[in-house]
């Protein structure tokens, strides 16, 4: 079963007086449980594609289906609800809520979902333990290293068992060793929890971790290979 289904997705941006084509007609299917890298140079359209799959941005034409829901007919609050229940996000710049502690950041999504306090605390602690942050529950983002912050972000993304986790250049702000640790951890989660991961990157090392590598170039799919992964 395909968890993500894109059919001829097109997207253009107005940048000043120039019209920039971000996606020129992308069709892509991703199966449940995948660990997929969208690779390509910066400006290739991979981030736009991730955003459209995540319902953060809308396509000009084409059709996007995520976990059975067709995105292009949904309004903002339906999209918010879809993101809340089906999609987890990991960003390049971590983007944790600065006023909340690590534990609270992870809890926040479940709070939005209406998970009762005791349960969400329990789950948040478990997931933080899983990502190796058992000692940092009460620290605020500013008191964590980049790698730690990104682990919290991963924990936040997967804690509510989403259908897919979208990660935009998750390791770009980390040194290679920390980045590798993070990928290792993400892969573990992928295998342990059967969560689909889709991430964008232009880093060779990251690509090597992927089990499927989709090459994006000038807004089009330029290659698609299945690997056995690292």
């Amino acid at each position: 079963m395909n968890i993500v289904e894109c059919t001829d997705v097109k997207k253009t941006y107005q940048q000043g007086k120039i019209v920039v084509t971000a996606l020129g007609g992308v069709s892509l299917s991703i199966q449940k449980g995948g660990f997929v890298a969208l690779a390509g140079p910066s400006g290739s359209g991979k981030t736009t594609l991730l955003n459209i799959i995540g319902g953060l941005d809308s396509a000009d034409s084409g059709r996007v289906t995520v976990n059975g829901s067709t995105l292009d007919t949904m309004n903002q609050s339906e999209l918010a609800s879809l993101r809340l229940h089906n999609i987890g996000f990991i960003f390049q710049a971590y983007n944790l809520i600065p006023v909340l502690s690590a534990l609270e950041n992870v809890e926040f999504v479940m709070l939005l979902q209406g998970v009762p306090l005791a349960e969400r605390r329990e789950r948040a602690k478990n997931i933080l333990d899983d990502v190796g942050l058992e000692d940092t529950y009460d620290r605020r983002p500013a008191e964590l290293s980049g790698g730690q912050q990104q682990r919290v972000a991963v924990a936040r993304a997967i804690v509510s068992d989403p259908a897919i986790v979208l990660a935009d250049e998750p390791t770009a702000n980390l040194d290679s060793k920390t980045g590798e640790g993070l990928l290792e951890m993400m892969k573990q989660m992928n295998e342990k929890k059967k969560v689909t991961f889709i991430f964008s990157t232009h880093d060779k090392m990251v690509m090597d971790y992927a089990r499927r590598l989709v090459l994006i170039k000038d807004g089009l799919v330029a290659g698609d290979e299945i690997r056995d992964g690292g």
Binding site: L56, S77, L84, I87, G88, F89, F91, I97, P98, V109
Partner: protein
């Protein structure tokens, strides 16, 4: 504590300097309003009280038309009957009878036209402050006949002192010449020049004889237990006087009808105050609007993330409104406390504005003014501040609803 409140609270302390300045701005407006309104309300009460006690009482029963024309023939012919009604109205604290006649009053050297007022010395003392205003000599006593009280300015104009004789010449109720000689028994000073130079008071019985009143009076003056009871008393008395004498001949007028200028002057002062306060609050609102706006400009990325992970726009608005409400409430609470302390200090010690005592006296105000702190005066102003602050906060809170996650996250 819910997570929203917790987040809002922590967000406030991300930039403590800014939050404190904002809270102080709100406090400043609240403080000022508490103090000013207490001051205004306090002086109105004093003004009304002194005007009521010097001039009109809380309400009067008069013949219809007397208030405008002051004709000597327009009388309450059976004052005792009206007195009876007042006796049976429990909210009435005291009442008295008065009769007035414009007459020529001459001393040895001078003649002036003044109002001669017949008063019941005992009852009058319960209703008006006249007895306390005596500065020389003494107040009238029950058995006095040919004695008079004279205002200090009139005494000066007439060049009379205690014990001097005054010749009174006027026209009686029946058109006959009314003439008598009275002795100055006391000289009073209210501080209101108009009052102090325009009348003399003689015993009512004496007045009724001289002006052939045949037992009638012009005004039955009543004082309620407090200002709030006035409309109640008015209704009760109005119903009562219906049955006396000719129907519709007597009317009941309250102090606002007797002194329309006073209540209008108070309203004017209040309204013009409101204009000033409103402008002040608007200036404060724009002063703090930037704080609220900055909260969203600075945190645009953060809001983008919150939206991305599934927070609804409504929740973001709520979060922002909680933040601004915390600041607003902290501000007004602080403002109310400081304002009340300040007001309370002056309520105990009074305020003197130098060079204004003469002016104050003309409006029945003492030189030293005591603001009157009340629930009302301590809450109206801050409530207005809270309301306008909330409106101010609404703009950014609604603006955040238009944020789209991608644009927000990529904003600087």
């Amino acid at each position: 504590m819910s997570i929203d409140v917790k987040m809002a609270w922590r967000n406030l302390w991300r930039n403590p300097r800014r939050s404190i300045l904002t809270i102080l701005a709100i406090s400043f407006a609240s403080l000022l309003l508490v103090f000013m309104l207490s001051w205004q309300f306090g002086s109105y009460e004093t003004m009304i009280d002194s005007a009521v006690k010097i001039h009109t009482g809380h309400l009067q029963v008069q013949a219809k038309g007397y208030n405008d024309k002051k004709g000597i023939r327009m009388v309450v012919s059976d004052p005792a009957a009206v007195g009876n009604i007042l006796n049976n109205t429990p909210e009435v604290a005291a009442y008295t009878y008065r009769a007035n006649a414009f007459s020529l009053v001459s001393s040895k050297e001078r003649t002036y036209g003044v109002v001669v007022v017949g008063i019941d010395p005992v009852r009058e003392a319960g209703v008006s402050t006249l007895k306390k205003l005596i500065r020389q000599g003494s107040y009238l006593s029950e058995g006095d006949t040919d004695q008079a009280l004279v205002g200090a300015l009139l005494a000066r104009n007439l060049k009379v002192g205690l014990g001097d004789e005054l010749v009174v010449l006027g026209q009686g109720r029946d058109g006959s010449v009314a003439a008598t000689v009275v002795k100055v028994k006391g000289i009073y000073r209210s501080g209101q020049d108009d009052f102090d130079r325009s009348s003399i008071q003689i015993p009512l019985k004496n007045f009724q004889d001289i002006y052939s009143m045949r037992g009638a009076v012009h005004e039955v003056v009543a004082l309620g237990k407090s200002l709030e009871y006035v409309s109640e008393i008015k209704m009760a008395v109005a119903a009562g006087v219906e049955d006396i004498g000719n129907k519709g001949h007597l009317v009941v007028l309250d102090w606002m009808e007797l002194m329309p200028g006073l209540i209008e002057a108070i309203q004017m002062d209040l309204y013009s105050g409101f204009i000033f306060y409103l402008i002040l609050i608007v200036v404060v609102a724009f002063s703090i609007l930037n704080t609220f706006l900055m909260a969203i400009f600075e945190r645009t990325r953060e809001f983008g993330v919150l939206l991305a992970i599934g927070t609804t726009p409504g929740r973001l608005s709520k979060l922002l409104l909680i933040e601004s409400t915390i600041m607003a409430i902290a501000g007004i609470v602080f403002g109310i406390i400081l304002g009340s302390l300040l007001t309370w200090y002056f309520q105990v010690h009074g305020i003197v504005i130098s060079g204004t005592s003469e002016l104050m006296r003309q409006f029945g105000l003492p030189e030293r003014i005591y603001p009157q702190l009340s629930i009302l005066s301590a809450s109206i102003g801050p409530a207005a501040v809270l309301f306008i602050t909330f409106l101010t906060a609404l703009y950014p809170a609604l603006k955040v609803r238009r944020f789209r996650p991608v644009e927000a996250m990529t904003a600087i």
